[in-house]
Subunit: 176 residues, 2 copies
């Protein structure tokens, strides 16, 4: 029952993850290198904050700097950044393309959870999406069917998430 404290126990904080992503973004145009002020502009925070935050990221081996203050991702940092980007991408695609969540909301939600979801969950979601885009005709049918189910669902106006307790029973009843 102390599962809830795991929230703090991530490899990367949200802030740290976005510093890595910012370095990656800036680096795309500069051969992998970024400057403190580029990162600050990308994240819309002050150079001072970036300077301090990079200190920690360097110490923990996510980023490296050269003698001219130029910053780049370490191999470890690159892997981490890629993992975060991929998780965000797959979650966002799932939300907007399968669940039909509005684009902007899918962007916001996926951005919030990108650094929090575990590798197993990320991988399984990738598998699921792969299945949905596979040759299997069932996959395409299901997406279409869900859309019409969703449109016709008599509860589509009333079943807000906050009525969730009956949902739980409902799902367990159905054997899920």
């Amino acid at each position: 029952m102390e599962t809830w404290k795991e929230f703090e126990a991530n490899e990367l904080t949200h802030s740290a993850a976005h510093h890595l992503l910012a370095i990656y973004e800036v680096g795309l145009e500069y051969g992998g290198w970024a400057r403190v002020s580029d990162i600050a502009r990308e994240l819309n925070i002050t150079r001072g904050s970036v300077s301090i935050n990079l200190r920690a990221l360097k110490k923990r081996g996510w980023v490296e700097t050269d003698e001219h203050h130029m910053v780049k991702l370490s191999p470890k940092g690159q892997k981490a950044a890629q993992a975060v980007m991929a998780k965000k991408a797959v979650v966002k695609t799932f939300l907007s393309s399968v669940l039909n969540v509005p684009e902007l909301q899918a962007e916001i939600d996926s951005c919030k959870v990108e650094h929090l979801i575990s590798q197993p969950t990320g991988e399984q979601l990738v598998h699921f999406m792969r299945f949905l885009v596979s040759e299997d005709p069932l996959a395409k049918q299901v997406l279409a069917r869900f859309r019409s189910f969703h449109d016709q669902c008599p509860e589509s106006k009333t079943c807000e998430v906050c009525h969730g307790h009956c949902l739980i029973e409902e799902l367990q009843h159905a054997g899920l």
Copy 2:
């Protein structure tokens, strides 16, 4: 661009959400009422921390206290607690029953995101789960088919999320 700062911009912090859940849990056996030390025991933090945190929750109208320091959720707090519980439940069920993520991992991941996912996303996920447990024969077929797809997937050993960039193209290619 500045979407990433939304992470901090939630109604409830993770900590605050779990304070509300703790009050709910304790309250189940005491007619909705809880004491500071019950909440502290439930969350496994000190009474001092709870005392301070409750101050903020009271000020913002999530909880109420009587003259004997007894604590209960306000109507607003009840709704919030229910929404969080429902989101966690539906995410956990989706992860473990559809994606086949191990139970414990599903518990951890759902706990991390429970307070972060938006109402629209939560509702759509509920619809999706409702569809999967509906009469529609397609729903049951798909779950079975995904399991076998997943078992046979030639990439099931290699396609980690960190190879995600090709995934993104792959998904977009497929029109998703």
